[in-house]
């Protein structure tokens, strides 16, 4: 299958436009009694009234920003992992990075219920621990594409089981158990985002710095080393950076799967490899995708609200199967 490749600039412009449009739509469209016209007027500084302004800026804006930031971070994390491990099935969700971060975030909620910073750091520690275990197990098992996924499944289930145990025994640790395990932005606050955003920013800057070196890994470790890349250091840094990005997202939006898997793969299909380029496109597309999903989750079954993670799983699981099948087809 050959897809006509888009130019990077036009693709990036499209992504940014989609991102902006979905953010604007999230602010204006909603489930409250607030009409679109009133929301628009509040947004544009008209005389919509106190409650309209409160809803738009106090509730919808933080949530939309959190969705965009988490979507970008998860997609960026996936792009990094896929390049660093040279495996298009890798992603923070599949590899158990999210589950590890989620479990540690819950433990932190248990031990230090009011410390947002502790939650962040614990999520990062959990993400790192899960990645380290998955990577070590996959290497032992032969470091093939699928062994990484299998190791991820094992670690994911373990972490999820622990998380469920915590939630069952101490229900107060998460406000909404279902929302946390499926992933969603109901609980996202500006305060959480305030802690997560700087970590995401650090992760993204480091990712851009590592990108040209990581591109060499597609040639195989020996060739990359011959070209002057410190392969072990680059790969380790990329994994740490991906864990940081995923952890900061999970601490805000719970166990949101598939963004990190779908987005970078689609971006590569549309625009080809080259991590700097695909990272930029993944960041904007991830932000747009999660913002749209969150918006749909809010309005589709009004007055009930779906967790955004549920919608993503509906999209993501078939895509994952497609990737598996395509790979098998190519190998034979």
């Amino acid at each position: 299958m050959r897809v006509r490749r888009m130019g990077t600039v036009s693709a990036l412009a499209l992504g940014i436009a989609a991102c902006a449009a979905s953010l604007a739509a999230s602010l204006v469209v909603g489930t409250d009694a607030l009409s679109v016209a009133d929301a628009l007027s509040a947004l544009l500084g008209g005389d919509a009234g106190q409650s309209a302004r409160l809803i738009v800026f106090g509730i919808r804006l933080p949530r939309a920003l959190a969705a965009a930031a988490c979507g970008a971070a998860l997609a960026g994390s996936g792009a990094l992992l896929q390049t660093a491990l040279n495996n298009d099935l890798a992603s923070p969700g599949v590899m158990g990075v999210n589950a590890g971060a989620g479990m540690f975030a819950l433990i932190s909620g248990l031990l230090f219920p009011y410390a947002v910073a502790a939650r962040q750091l614990m999520a990062f520690a959990g993400a790192l621990a899960a990645t380290a275990v998955v990577y070590a197990v996959a290497r032992r098992a032969g470091a093939s594409r699928t062994s990484l996924v299998l190791a991820g499944v094992a670690v994911s289930s373990l972490a999820t089981a622990c998380a469920n145990a915590i939630v069952t025994m101490w229900p107060a640790t998460v406000t909404d158990k279902v929302a946390f395990s499926l992933g969603g932005l109901q609980g996202a606050t500006l305060q959480q985002l305030g802690f997560a955003a700087p970590m995401m920013l650090v992760g993204i800057v480091v990712a851009y710095a590592l990108a040209p070196g990581l591109d060499l890994l597609a040639l195989g470790d020996e060739a990359a080393q011959g070209l002057g890349l410190d392969v072990r250091r680059h790969r380790a840094l990329a994994i740490v950076c991906a864990a940081l990005l995923a952890a900061s997202a999970v601490s805000v939006c719970g166990l949101l799967g598939f963004v990190g898997l779908i987005v970078p793969n689609l971006v590569r299909m549309a625009c080809g490899p080259g991590l700097r380029r695909s990272l930029s496109l993944s960041l904007v597309s991830g932000a747009a995708l999660l913002t749209v999903c969150d918006l749909l989750a809010r309005v589709l079954f009004f007055p009930y609200e779906l967790p955004a993670g549920l919608l993503l799983s509906l999209l993501g699981a078939p895509f994952f199967i497609f990737l598996l099948v395509r790979r098998r087809g190519r190998a034979s």
Partner: protein
């Protein structure tokens, strides 16, 4: 210039090669020959700084293990024996050869682009520059990788079986490319088990046998040493006289009738 003194190289936990002394110079092609599994690739990997060693390997006077990765890649370029098929086009692949020479922003400049073009023209892949590597034949891919290490512009090139997967005409081209690189002053170390082809191009040969360098010398002296080659490789070679010979050596098992028959086959 790469100099080895009392070097021991381990491979998968046991000592694979012990080399008391050796040196690989610039401006010439040095062949590393030996049977499969004799340690040719291991030696090249160690010279490229990819696997650890004990003893001393000096590259232009500096101990290899102490040279930072990018600086090492500016001094030696390495073509591995097994090549992967990355999802990128040929120009991007060859461009990766410039990695060690890029500035802090890792963006290619005019110098880099002209080096890449020159390398692609030298290895005859310029026409393929927009093709995805996954659509190339084995031989085209091999030449694209060769272009990549040539674009690296290092004074020493370490090539592990550069003629593998190539048809006869392109193997001849690879031989000519190596010759030309050496004439430009670069040092080329090539691991190969194809004796006629390798002896046709190299100035010196280094025969790996029984975990060490069995013999080392200019091509002529190695070629004439039947006993040495028969012991190390199981065959020896005969020089063939005549016009238009691509590889003026033929394989022999020491029986000259066989040698002559092989010679006919190589003659154009």
């Amino acid at each position: 210039m790469i100099e080895l003194v009392d070097v021991i190289i381990s491979y998968r936990g046991h000592d694979a090669l012990a080399i008391p002394e050796a040196s690989f110079g610039n401006g010439k092609v040095t062949a590393v020959v030996g049977r499969n599994g004799s340690g040719k690739s291991t030696l090249l990997r160690a010279l490229a700084g990819i696997i650890p060693y004990r003893g001393s390997i000096r590259v232009d006077g500096d101990e290899l293990s102490g040279i930072p990765h990018r600086e090492r890649a500016r001094r030696t370029a390495y073509l591995p024996q097994t090549l992967s098929t990355p999802a990128m086009d040929v120009a991007t692949l060859v461009g990766h050869g410039r990695f060690s020479r890029l500035g802090p922003l890792r963006a290619m400049g005019a110098d880099d682009r002209s080096a890449v073009q020159r390398a692609m023209e030298l290895t005859d892949v310029w026409e393929l520059r927009d093709r995805p590597v996954s659509e190339l034949s084995g031989g085209e891919r091999q030449r694209a990788y060769l272009a990549m290490v040539v674009a690296q512009d290092a004074p020493m090139l370490l090539l592990d079986e550069p003629g593998a997967h190539l048809d006869v005409a392109h193997r001849r081209d690879v031989v000519r490319i190596m010759r030309r690189l050496a004439d430009e002053g670069k040092g080329v170390v090539v691991a190969s088990h194809d004796l006629p082809e390798t002896f046709a191009v190299c100035n010196e040969a280094c025969v790996i046998n029984r975990g060490t360098i069995g013999a080392w010398g200019d091509t002529g002296s190695i070629v004439e040493n039947d006993g040495l080659l028969l012991d190390a490789m199981g065959v020896c070679v005969r020089r063939i006289e005549g016009d238009g010979l691509l590889f003026p050596y033929a394989l022999s098992d020491g029986d000259d009738t066989v040698g002559a028959a092989a010679a006919d086959a190589v003659r154009e």
